[in-house]
Subunit: 252 residues, 2 copies
């Protein structure tokens, strides 16, 4: 028996999120079914980020255990023959049997993309949130500074969260503008339920001028979900990648 | 009666191209129907570039005549209320009654996008052609130089073309690489049927090393479609925009 790590990219548009649900097609469900077909074993993957419905990924991580004779680094090729075109495994490798993608210290990076112009662009409609309201990127950048570091992010956590603690560390949070496209990029030790989308929704309010950049500090201190802005729509969010800091010998 | 010019962006994935066909939904057809609904007149648009099935646009041009009382610059807003989300009008303005988008000297720009990596990325699958075969961008750039200028592009013209002459001018043709994405960008006075896709298909052969960069000169001189490479798939192609050089008083 060996444990295999997959790097998984997907267009989340047509999925009911990562995690298997009573109804609806999920990324995890499709991976389980496809790996079961491929290996002839009853495979269940463990995902690093259980992304919401409509959220995309370039580098989410899944691990599973198998006795297959397919060489670990060839599993990606075999799997992609069977997967639908909106889920593509980018890499596969063997990892230690005790490696668990949610119990290992890691750095996760997400991007929230905003298309800011008079009219939407059809080709960007699935992976960018569109707004015609002019956004002040400098103000968004100022506000973002308050969130960097270790903080209690309770104000940025969905009330439906079951997390034991709401303290997290944001290592990096940047807001960049290239032509009409504004990208919020955040790297952290982990994120609370809906946290990146609530951060994006609050930065959007600051960008439009509804709120001032230094209100971000008060919102953080309030430790109250109602203090922050709305949860920005899922389709603007992409899980970029995860770096594991320990407990993994192979490339990650 | 006045003539209105529209700048039209679309995701061509779900359309049978621009031009109205006996069967299938087309961009032109949807614009005609939507404008007819909006103006209560029997509207027929004239398009600048009759893009093929699966080809996208950021800035294709359509003109139509109307007696509507909607101010010209507000037509875009009104139209976008009715159009499907994969067709978005970016601008509308009044132009002289004698302005015809295919009979006016212009510079058209197209981009052909190639994703060049081990595995495809799901979010790019509709607007980038994917190949895992390593492409040598420098060789593609060398080959591209032979095509710049006024030439008989018969080798790069579909045998189904009805063009009277196959001489065209390419003003600019660049091949750029950013990470895994290679973009072929071409600006010309106009293009023959499938010309940009045949140029892309030939540059792909040069990028893989199947053919050498200086073969491009021989291909051009052959004036024979069979001398050039295959027609690259439609979904990698996007009509970027058109600049009109004369016969138009308004912004273009």
């Amino acid at each position: 028996m060996k444990r295999i790590k997959l790097i998984v990219a997907y267009d989340g548009t047509n999925y009911n999120g990562w995690q298997v649900q009573p109804t609806g097609v999920t990324i995890e469900g499709v991976l389980n079914e496809t790996l079961t077909q491929l290996t002839k074993e009853a495979v269940t993957v463990i995902g690093a980020s259980r992304t919401d419905s409509g959220v995309h990924a370039l580098g989410n991580i899944a691990v599973f255990d198998t006795n297959t004779k397919i060489p670990p680094e060839k599993i990606s090729y075999a799997l992609n023959q069977w997967l639908p075109e909106d889920i593509v495994v980018q890499d596969s490798c063997e990892v230690p049997m005790d490696f668990h993608p949610r119990r290992c210290e890691s750095r996760k990076t997400y991007e929230y993309k905003i298309l800011n112009r008079t009219f939407p662009l059809p080709l960007n409609r699935h992976d960018c949130y569109f707004t015609y309201r002019k956004l002040d990127v400098e103000k968004m950048q100022q506000a973002a500074q308050y969130l960097i570091g270790e903080h209690d992010f309770k104000s940025f956590c969905s009330i439906h969260s079951q997390a034991e603690t709401t303290t997290r560390t944001i290592y990096d949070l940047t807001v960049k503008k290239e032509q009409d496209l504004i990208t919020i990029r955040v790297t952290g030790s982990g994120f609370l339920y809906n946290m990146v989308r609530i951060v994006a929704g609050t930065l959007l309010q600051i960008g439009t001028g509804e709120r001032s950049p230094n209100e971000m500090q008060e919102i953080l201190q309030a430790k109250d979900r109602t203090a922050a802005g709305p949860t920005a729509p899922a389709h603007g969010l992409t899980m970029i990648g995860i770096k594991f800091l320990a407990n993994i010998s192979n490339k990650s």
